[in-house]
């Protein structure tokens, strides 16, 4: 089956201290359009491509670490099916840490 997906351009932003784990606070991404991009797939992609070190400070199992909030276009990901959410072009995904100890 040939891929019917185009490359996916989205914005990923880290805030509330989550940015300390990454090079840049705001990232314009162009994800390869080989298959569908769910939020879960994006999490792993971020771990493998953007995270400087210490993946345990960002992920726990196949979801974000407790204390990190995820918003897609300013909407709570709990309203969008969390990891199952299918990313759309020009989506903005925010990861905001609520952890004081970092």
């Amino acid at each position: 089956m040939t891929s019917g997906y185009k490359d996916l351009s989205i914005t990923v932003e880290f805030r509330g201290g989550a940015e300390l784990l990454f090079e840049k606070k705001k990232n314009e991404l162009n994800l390869p359009g080989d298959e569908e991009w769910t939020l879960r797939r994006l999490l792993f992609w971020i771990r493998d491509n953007l995270l400087k070190d210490r993946p345990e400070l960002f992920l726990l199992g196949d979801t974000v670490r407790p204390g990190i909030l995820v918003l897609v276009n300013d909407e709570d990901w709990e309203l969008l099916g969390q990891g199952e959410y299918k990313l759309k072009p020009r989506d903005t995904v925010l990861f905001i840490s609520t952890l004081h100890g970092g």
């Binding site: 210490r54 309203l79 100890g101």
Partner: protein
């Protein structure tokens, strides 16, 4: 009863029920039943931004209102860190100031930024750039204010503050406070010390600016974490002061916590809906292992548990609410801790856990063959038992400051043991982690010296009292 938001801390129904997988996809706001929901609170309560923000404002006003402690014309110092809690607090106050006349907030507010960058390992340049970011942010929120360096908390003199608007030119290395923190061996005690010094500084700045109240921005999540970690740190006796709406340990200035009903998630959504930015700087234990400090580990514990059981934060928080300070006033002398100023919890009663702790320390030190009978019997008389530190003088013996009486010589000879007598149990633990070679901060020496001469005076006049 006006708001669904109040449900968070007022019903018992949903506490500690394992969360079911919620059906909230594409949900509409449960408050207005009209708009698309944008945030989910407590697993299943869905709100649109309009209803969420209205409920937040209502909750803030209700927290302050029901306490009946804040008068409309009060002069209030606001401790601002640039982080989520205090940024939301400033925004809520500003919004309250432009409400219709009958519900307008009219406080005289002063914003204070405590510059603790030096102990967090920042250079002078980094601190300057944080301060200027804070300045921009505070301006953006419609306020002006002051900054003060944490170093100022160590001295007995009035703290030197400077307007945020002025460039912080003569920012120094703050070597006193940096040295002190370097001499404290554990991160648990460093965090404790940072908190206590910060509180002390807020109080002394409030006093010198003539503010009668201080607002700090601790939210429900912070307080739930503090409740558990403070118990672990031996501060159980002070919990109502440390986590209640009002901290009244100082007679003239009260610390209030108007953000205590906001969880961290609510704060983040408030910020995001209003497009407000926070200033993030790494803290003492940022990116360190979870076991670095008791506070950090407790944060991890509470946050992880709250993800599985969304009632965790409110369950802990509500338990904390129910605690009150025992009636120590029965004893006619109320002594307070020289560092944190809470009532001393170190007075032995026959069954106190402190006594048990000291006893166990004593027999552990004696070893299996030690004869502890007599010492244990005498334990009651010792306010604290410390060994190694005992010989280190707190201050070189010298003559009384005011005169050359020979009595002063012995009077001001303070051993670390003597010094401990004037600390609560929790603060003693901080100083157990302090390098014995390091000198005790000025303000503590002064405060203990005053206490000692007061005690002496009491002793001298005791015979004349009926």
């Amino acid at each position: 009863m006006c708001s669904v938001n109040d449900a968070e801390f007022e019903t018992d129904d949903e506490l500690m029920q394992p969360d079911e997988v919620p059906q909230t996809e594409g949900a509409i706001c449960k408050k207005c039943n009209e708009n698309n929901a944008e945030v989910v609170l407590r697993v299943k309560d869905t709100y649109c931004s309009t209803c969420f923000l209205a409920a937040s404002t209502h909750k803030f006003r209700a927290t302050i209102g029901k306490s009946k402690l804040v008068r409309p014309t009060d002069s209030i110092l606001i401790g601002h860190s640039g982080k989520a809690g205090s940024t939301v607090l400033l925004h809520l106050i500003k919004a309250g100031m432009s409400e219709a006349v009958h519900k307008r907030l009219m406080y005289k507010t002063t914003v204070l930024y405590v510059d603790d960058g030096a102990v967090l390992g920042q250079t002078v340049d980094q601190r300057k750039s944080t301060i200027s970011a804070i300045r921009e942010q505070v301006h953006g929120l419609g306020f002006t204010g002051y900054a003060v360096s944490l170093n100022e908390s160590l001295h007995s003199s009035e703290p030197k503050i400077y307007p945020l608007d002025e460039e912080a030119e003569d920012l120094k290395g703050d070597s006193d406070v940096v040295d002190l923190f370097n001499a404290v061996s554990s991160y648990t005690s460093k965090e404790e010390l940072l908190h206590k010094l910060r509180q002390k500084l807020l109080i002394s700045v409030a006093r010198s600016l003539g503010c009668c109240k201080v607002f700090t921005a601790d939210g429900a999540t912070d307080l739930a974490i503090t409740i558990l970690s403070n118990i672990a740190l031996g501060r159980g006796a002070q919990l109502p002061l440390d986590v209640g709406f009002v901290d009244s340990r100082e007679l003239d200035i009260k610390i209030l916590r108007p953000m205590r009903d906001f969880t961290r998630k609510e704060l983040i959504y408030y910020l995001n809906f209003h497009k407000l930015e926070t200033i993030q700087t790494p803290g003492l234990t940022t990116k360190k292992e979870p076991y670095t400090s008791i506070q950090k580990l407790t944060e991890k514990f509470v946050t992880e548990l709250n993800t599985e059981f969304s009632g965790t934060v409110s369950a802990i928080f509500r338990t904390g609410e129910k605690l009150s300070i025992g009636n120590l006033e029965a004893s006619n002398l109320i002594e307070t801790c020289a560092l944190c100023r809470a009532q001393l919890d170190t007075v032995f009663t026959n069954t106190s856990s402190l006594q048990a702790t000291e006893f166990s320390k004593l027999i552990s030190a004696e070893g299996p063959k030690g004869n502890i009978g007599k010492a244990a019997f005498e334990l009651k008389k010792f306010p604290c038992v410390i060994d190694a530190a005992e010989n280190v003088p707190l201050r070189d013996s010298k003559n009384c400051d005011n005169c050359s009486c020979s009595k002063g010589k012995e009077k001001f000879e303070m051993s670390a043991k003597n010094f401990e007598k004037y600390l609560c149990y929790g603060c003693r633990l901080i100083f157990k982690d302090l390098d014995k070679q390091h000198s005790i901060p000025d303000f503590l020496q002064n405060s203990v010296r005053q206490r000692i001469s007061l005690d002496d005076m009491r002793e001298e006049i005791a015979d004349f009292l009926l």
